[in-house]
């Protein structure tokens, strides 16, 4: 297998487009995942009987093969980016739901009690005490699901929204390894950069964890 390194600068514009394309599928998937997972996690955390049901259900969804999900979604959303994003969202959901529930569990009971006893209503306690304290554990889920989403986007190249995954199909069809290597390297870099950005965000948002006495 020989890699034609000269191919890279020649296809700079294509690579940039594909990378952005990749991100515009992966990032919304994680964001929608959060949007759905956090409220569900709050319900699962508050209503004990629902906890097992919700976590079980999200586990079942996780076991559906990714290609099958896209196929199942096709009749509903068609060959659109929506299909790609929806499919990935289902995957991020499992990790995000579990981590958010665990994050809420990790909030010290005393802090929750103090907030209520000071006269904060439940929603305010959730937003100003519980979620901030659960944030580090939630972020751990966000990091895992982001990396996962970035690697899974490629699968959506079957429906034409695979981002860097398109390079794999292209290289495979032409029996030309260079685009495949380019796709691997860029996916990897993208995952690393995304993870670093998330670590930075977490650091910025949790000043109370910085200087452990």
């Amino acid at each position: 297998m020989t890699v034609d390194w000269g191919w890279f600068p020649d296809h700079r514009d294509d690579l940039t487009t594909l990378t952005l394309d990749h991100l515009s599928t992966a990032v919304p998937a994680v964001l929608f995942g959060l949007l759905i997972a956090v409220p569900l996690a709050v319900v699962a955390h508050r209503v004990r009987p629902l906890r097992g049901v919700l976590l079980g259900l999200s586990n079942v969804l996780f076991t559906i093969p990714s290609i099958a999900i896209f196929v199942l979604l096709l009749p509903i959303t068609g060959l659109t980016r929506t299909t790609a994003i929806t499919g990935l969202t289902i995957y991020t959901l499992t990790v995000l739901l579990r981590n958010t529930v665990e994050g809420l569990d990790s909030v010290p009971a005393k802090a929750r009690e103090a907030s209520m006893a000071m006269g904060a209503r439940p929603l305010r306690t959730l937003l100003t005490v519980e979620l901030p304290l659960a944030f580090p554990v939630i972020m751990a889920g966000v990091r895992v699901s982001t990396v996962m989403a970035i690697s899974l986007v490629s699968v959506a190249s079957y429906i034409g929204y695979g981002g860097l995954g398109q390079l794999f199909t292209d290289g495979f069809q032409r029996d030309y390894p260079t685009p495949v290597v380019a796709g691997v390297i860029l996916s990897l870099l993208l995952a690393l950069v995304a993870d670093a950005v998330l670590v930075a965000i977490q650091w910025l948002c949790t000043p109370w964890l910085r200087r452990r006495a």
Binding site: A111, A114, G119, A120, L133, T206, W208, A213
Partner: protein
């Protein structure tokens, strides 16, 4: 049904036939009737599972009564909006329960922010409170984990006081700090209370803490029964039954002494060092500084004579307790307690015998006072016989003052 009637102020918090049963069949509080006067510290004590914390938590509706009425400031708590009610009631819990993700200043500002004071005003108020509870100004920007346990507890108190609520609930607030810090915090609380005159409900399982802090003490027994509610001296002198007596412990008499001060206890001139008056006063001399502060006792008959090392002295002021005096009289080699004025300057000494005599008399007085009180209370009720019993129990429980003098 027990009612604390000895309060000076009007009733701030009242429980009327309040019970709390849980679905699993346990009874946390059983038919509690109790009235807490404004501006006093009422301490709820008892073994664990006796319902004292549940009682406290019913005041701000963290727990709702199964039956009966809890009212604060004349208003049924169940008729109030829970969140608004709580904003008007300070709450301090064990290990402070601070928000780990908020700075000290923002922790203290919690209730003012909930009340919509705005960030600037709330922070300014928080800074005031930081000073009030004796924390350095710089600590406001720190996070709870960067403070010691005692400091965190002070922040907890400051947070509870931030919106200046008339009522303060304290649930074993000093339970998790070491004894030295605990004593400091107790003193601070008493100092704050002398300024602020809040209606304080304080839960503890530590009877010494209860005696120290309480204007009155309510003793609970397992199963949520209130057994007795009385000022500390009365409780110690006349426990209602064996349970209360057992809870107060064997050193009830000594605890009673901790409530009396040296004020009024006569003193004699000190056997001072280097003065002519000292020549005829036995073996031990009290050495003082040039300002007159006691430094220690010197054994004039020891082998080293005037070079002998000083033995420690703990000078006592008139505001110190008789218990401290009794203790020092045992520790002092001369059997004399050095008495000083507010500036720490020696005013005289008091001998062991005189302290014992005085202590014995105080003890009897407390017993007699509470028996009279019991008689008065019971005369109005149907149980006049109980009063007689109480008096007799008193007499049996109170050591003969003469005996302690001779001891």
């Amino acid at each position: 049904m027990t009612i604390c009637r000895q309060g000076k102020g009007k009733r701030m918090i009242s429980f009327k036939h309040v019970s709390k049963h849980y679905p699993n069949g346990t009874t946390a509080v059983d038919d509690l009737s109790l009235e807490l006067p404004e501006g006093d510290i009422t301490v709820l004590v008892g073994t664990s599972g006796c319902g004292k914390t549940t009682t406290l938590r019913m005041v701000n509706r963290m727990v709702e009564p199964s039956s009966g009425t809890v009212s604060v400031g004349g208003r049924d708590v169940l008729k109030a909006d829970a969140a608004e009610l709580r904003r008007g009631i300070g709450y301090v819990i064990q290990q402070a329960g601070l928000f780990p993700h908020r700075t000290i200043l923002d922790n203290i500002a919690t209730v003012p922010l909930l009340l919509g004071w705005g960030r600037r005003k709330a922070r300014a108020r928080a800074a005031e409170l930081l000073e009030l509870v004796g924390l350095p100004e710089g600590s406001g920007k720190r996070y709870p984990h960067q403070l010691s346990g005692g400091q965190q507890q002070r922040v907890g108190v400051a947070r509870a006081l931030a919106a200046d609520p008339p009522v303060l609930l304290m649930d074993e607030p000093f339970g998790a700090v070491d004894p030295v810090v605990r004593t400091q915090l107790q003193n601070e609380l008493l100092r704050l209370q002398s300024e602020l005159r809040k209606t304080v409900v304080f839960v503890t399982h530590d009877i010494d803490e209860a005696v120290r802090l309480g204007d009155r003490i309510a003793v609970f027994r397992t199963g949520g029964h209130l057994v007795q509610c009385a000022p500390p001296a009365e409780l110690l002198a006349a426990p209602a039954d064996d349970f209360v007596a057992g809870f107060l412990g064997a050193e009830r008499g000594l605890k009673l002494l901790s409530l009396s001060t040296l004020d009024g206890l006569p003193q004699e001139p000190a056997p001072a060092d280097g003065t002519s008056a000292a020549a005829d006063t036995g073996r031990w001399r009290l050495v003082t500084s040039t300002r007159g502060e006691p430094l220690g006792w010197r054994d004039t008959e020891g082998p080293d004579g005037d070079e002998a090392p000083l033995l420690p002295v703990r000078p006592l002021r008139d505001t110190d307790s008789l218990l401290a005096a009794l203790d020092e009289s045992l520790a002092s080699p001369a059997g004399l307690v050095a008495r000083v004025d507010a500036d720490g300057v020696l005013t005289g000494v008091t001998g062991r015998d005189r302290i014992h005599e005085h202590a014995g008399r105080r003890h009897t007085e407390a017993g007699r006072g509470s028996a009279a009180e019991a008689a008065r209370t019971n005369a109005t009720s149907k149980d006049a016989e109980d009063a007689k019993d109480a008096k007799e129990a008193q007499a049996a429980d109170t050591p003969d003052p003469d005996a302690s003098v001779n001891a």
